[in-house]
């Protein structure tokens, strides 16, 4: 466990966080806003990697968990005027419950069906939001009275702190004995079973943790935006971005997923002057990385270390 302090990657991560924390003193509010969103996305991607990289389950619907957390928090605040912190906590809880309802039956089906189930769940949630527009704001979106802060710097620090803490917990978990068992279950479920591990239990736990951080991050994001809309937290395209970020950053690395998310969002924004081309260029880069460096940014570094 304490071996992690001896690894250069750990100290690089610490250094990066320290440098990132100083940004509000010399960077424009526009860039801070961009990074704030990127950090929340980083948590989405890290949570997703815990499921895909470690438990070996492809969740095509990360936005089902994110959206449930985001909308639960938003609706409770906008329609029932509950205090913000309570809304955020209940949002995370709702995501966990929704995740459980989804995963319990889905984890029992084999092969690609788990992924398909999660995909359908997103569509159901999206329809629900549109149909019950009185409650949810429908396609126009939901305006939320409370915000985390009106100061860009404070918002930025909240997001950075949240991502750092989530990353530390998720990474620690992935390296813990439970994480090892999870990884073994993902890689060879038959053998993990024969070694005496209850696969379903471990995968379910991973799903709950993933749902918790996804929902929490989604809830924080709506209180940063001041709105909740299908296009920002539920749409399939958002889910695809979360997945691409995680794969770009490196499967089974957790922290790489955050790097991937920051890269995707920042690169997309910097290419904005190119107009419609921006999405195309970012997607092309992502495609090249996935095709030629399937283990991603951080994964390539780590596997070189493993071979030495």
């Amino acid at each position: 466990m304490f071996a992690v302090f001896k690894k250069p990657l750990f100290w690089i991560a610490v250094l990066v966080v320290i440098v990132a924390a100083t940004l509000p003193w010399y960077v424009s509010g526009y860039i801070l806003g961009l990074l704030t969103v990127a950090y929340y996305f980083g948590v989405f991607s890290m949570s997703w990697d815990l499921l895909f990289g470690f438990a070996g389950e492809v969740n095509f619907g990360p936005t089902f968990l994110i959206g449930t957390g985001a909308y639960t928090a938003g609706i409770l605040n906008a329609q029932f005027s509950l205090p913000m912190t309570l809304c955020i906590a209940l949002g995370a809880l709702a995501a966990v419950l929704a995740g459980l309802v989804l995963a319990m039956p889905a984890l029992r089906v084999r092969g690609p069906y788990f992924g398909l189930t999660t995909l359908v769940a997103v569509l159901i949630l999206q329809n629900f939001i549109v149909v019950f527009a009185d409650l949810t704001g429908g396609e126009i979106g939901l305006t939320i009275p409370d915000v985390l802060s009106i100061d860009a710097g404070v918002n930025y620090w909240i997001a950075l702190g949240f991502m750092t803490v989530s990353g530390a917990i998720l990474f620690g978990l992935s390296q813990s004995p439970v994480g090892l068992v999870l990884q073994a279950s993902g890689q060879d479920p038959v053998q993990a079973g024969a070694l005496g591990f209850n696969i379903v239990k471990h995968k379910l736990a991973a799903f709950i943790v993933s749902a918790f951080f996804s929902g929490l991050s989604g809830a924080l994001l709506v209180f940063y935006f001041g709105t909740a809309s299908v296009g920002t937290v539920i749409d399939i395209a958002v889910g695809v971005q979360v997945i691409v970020a995680a794969v770009l950053g490196g499967r089974r690395t957790v922290l790489g997923a955050a790097l991937g998310a920051i890269f995707l969002i920042v690169a997309g924004e910097f290419l904005r002057p190119t107009g419609e081309l921006a999405t195309f260029i970012v997607s092309a880069v992502a495609l090249v990385v996935i095709l030629f460096f399937p283990s991603g940014f951080l994964g390539s570094v780590l596997s070189r270390e493993a071979r030495s």
Binding site: M1, G172, L173, S176, P177, V178, L180, V181, Q183, A184, Q187, D188, V190, Q191, A192, G193, A194, L195, G196, F197, N198, I199, K201, H202, A205, R252, L302, S303, A306, R307
Partner: protein
């Protein structure tokens, strides 16, 4: 042995039965296993031995029967509960955690099945170190699996299986892929498990490979026990000999001098193939003349399928494969098949949700409509049952019918060279006879060159003009089928 025979068995298997749909893979299997004994479960490919082992371990759920461990019935439990009760299993194929060290991989096996274990525990590390030393991994325990030689990866599997000190150890094909020197070391290790008082069950294809190691053997065929006892007794048993060697075999070989082509139609020269670190073929050379029927005999795992897949262009290899003197290197599998070198694979690979007719039509896709109809008519004469079954989905056919369809589909491609990989796999004797007749007809009435891979000697010899024996990735014997029993048969049991 004598001291242990008085104690109660650790594991008692009673009337174990496992059915997959209409197929009965294990039928009423009963045996017992005592502490301090090594027991061999033997049978040719498709005999149900692996299914029996998986059913004991809970990886497959038994259809009927009981598995008593120290008197408690564990049949139908999930494998993780059975494992915690005191079972360890050594898998033939391993997928270790490549980013963790050998020691960490062993530690995983020691962890409790708990979600609260968030910090590693010093005692576990010490125990993992001890186990690493125990199986001979002390030198490499801080390395990561991708850097290890094959034998060490197998040691890692042994280490994981015995990590939690199981009372029963199940080992799937203990010596697959190992060199002779490594076989000796692994035998010693497995013996030491016995001497520690564990009950060890080995699953393997033939008696010979485990004879020196086991105290008792049970031979299976088509899901049922056919003989049991000490290894020598089982090897002498008539039924066992018939299953592996066949009874009196009538051969009808044409001497090699009869084939007048100066350059053989198919030449395989010094071909070697590796799967990662395991050597699957070692300097294999064979040749087949135009119109000849050549059988390659070898036990499962000897390398037959690898050889055929190499010829069909699926595997990277060293050495040369020539057809009519021209190298096949660089040709895609599709090109090779289209040019008339057609393989009918061991696994049949039928399109299960298509009809019999659709499967055959796909085989004849490249023929003109007139040619296709003629070929189909000829084929229905060879396998009349396929004509009746035309409209039926392929996956609903019986095993024998599926095999006929697989051969039929290959024949629809109008092959010049037909490769048949283990057509007898898991089929009942009566079906074998029908297949055998069809092969005879092929040989008599067509000019198709046939390369047949078989572990069933009775089936492989009667039609063959020439026989090769493949053992441990090498060709060890070549000759006339009439001399096989005398010269190569003994080593084959």
């Amino acid at each position: 042995m004598n001291a242990t025979t008085t104690t109660a068995p650790v594991l008692e298997v009673r009337n174990l039965t496992k059915r997959f749909g209409g197929l009965t893979a294990v039928k009423n299997l009963s045996f017992e296993l005592r502490a301090g004994e090594i027991f061999g479960l033997i049978g040719p490919n498709g005999s149900g031995k692996s299914t029996a082992m998986k059913s004991i371990m809970g990886i497959e759920r038994p259809t009927a029967g009981s598995v008593l461990f120290e008197g408690h019935d564990v049949a139908g439990w999930p494998s993780h509960r059975i494992a915690r009760r005191g079972f360890g299993m050594v898998f033939q194929h391993s997928r270790p955690l490549n980013r963790q060290t050998v020691l960490e991989n062993i530690m995983v096996a020691l962890l409790p099945d708990s979600l609260l274990m968030l910090l590693p525990n010093k005692a576990l590390t010490e125990r993992a170190k001890w186990i690493a030393e125990r199986v001979g991994l002390a030198e490499v325990m801080n390395r990561r699996p991708p850097t290890l030689p094959f034998a060490d990866l197998r040691r890692l599997e042994l280490a994981k299986a015995i990590a939690r000190d199981p009372k029963v150890v199940l080992v799937d094909e203990p010596f697959a892929g190992l060199t002779l020197a490594e076989v000796a070391t692994f035998s010693d290790l497995i013996r030491s498990f016995r001497d520690e008082g564990r009950a060890v069950m080995l699953v393997d294809h033939n008696v010979k490979s485990v004879a020196a190691l086991v105290d008792r053997v049970l031979a299976m065929y088509l899901g049922e026990e056919i003989a049991s006892g000490r290894a020598e007794e089982v090897m002498r048993n008539e039924t066992v000999r018939r299953v592996y060697l066949g009874g009196a075999i009538e051969t009808s070989a044409r001497p090699e001098a009869n084939f007048t082509d100066t350059v053989p139609l198919l030449q395989v020269e010094n071909v070697s193939v590796h799967y990662g670190k395991a050597q699957a073929l070692q300097n294999v050379s064979i040749h087949v003349h135009r119109g000849e029927f050549v059988s390659i005999v070898g036990l499962n795992g000897a390398g037959k399928t690898t050889l055929f897949n190499t010829i069909s262009g699926f595997l990277p290899h060293s050495g040369e494969i020539r057809r009519d003197g021209e190298s096949l290197r660089g040709l895609s599998p599709a090109k090779i098949a289209r040019s008339g070198l057609v393989q009918c694979p061991e696994t049949r690979e039928l399109f299960g949700e298509m009809t019999v007719r659709e499967n055959l039509d796909l085989g004849g896709q490249h023929l003109t409509p007139a040619d296709k109809d003629a070929q189909l008519e000829w084929l229905f004469e060879l396998f009349p049952i396929l004509k009746q079954r035309q409209g039926q989905m392929a996956q609903t056919l019986s095993g024998g019918e599926q095999q006929m369809l697989a051969i039929g589909r290959a024949l629809m491609m109008k092959p010049k060279i037909l490769i048949l990989d283990e057509p007898t796999l898991g089929l009942a004797p009566v079906i074998l006879e029908q297949l055998s007749k069809a092969l005879e007809k092929l040989r008599q009435t067509t000019s198709i060159t046939v390369l047949l891979g078989e572990q069933n000697v009775t089936f492989a010899l009667p039609h063959a003009d020439r026989v090769y024996v493949l053992e441990h990735a090498r060709i060890v014997w070549e000759g006339d089928p009439g001399r096989f029993a005398a010269e190569a048969g003994e080593g084959y049991l």
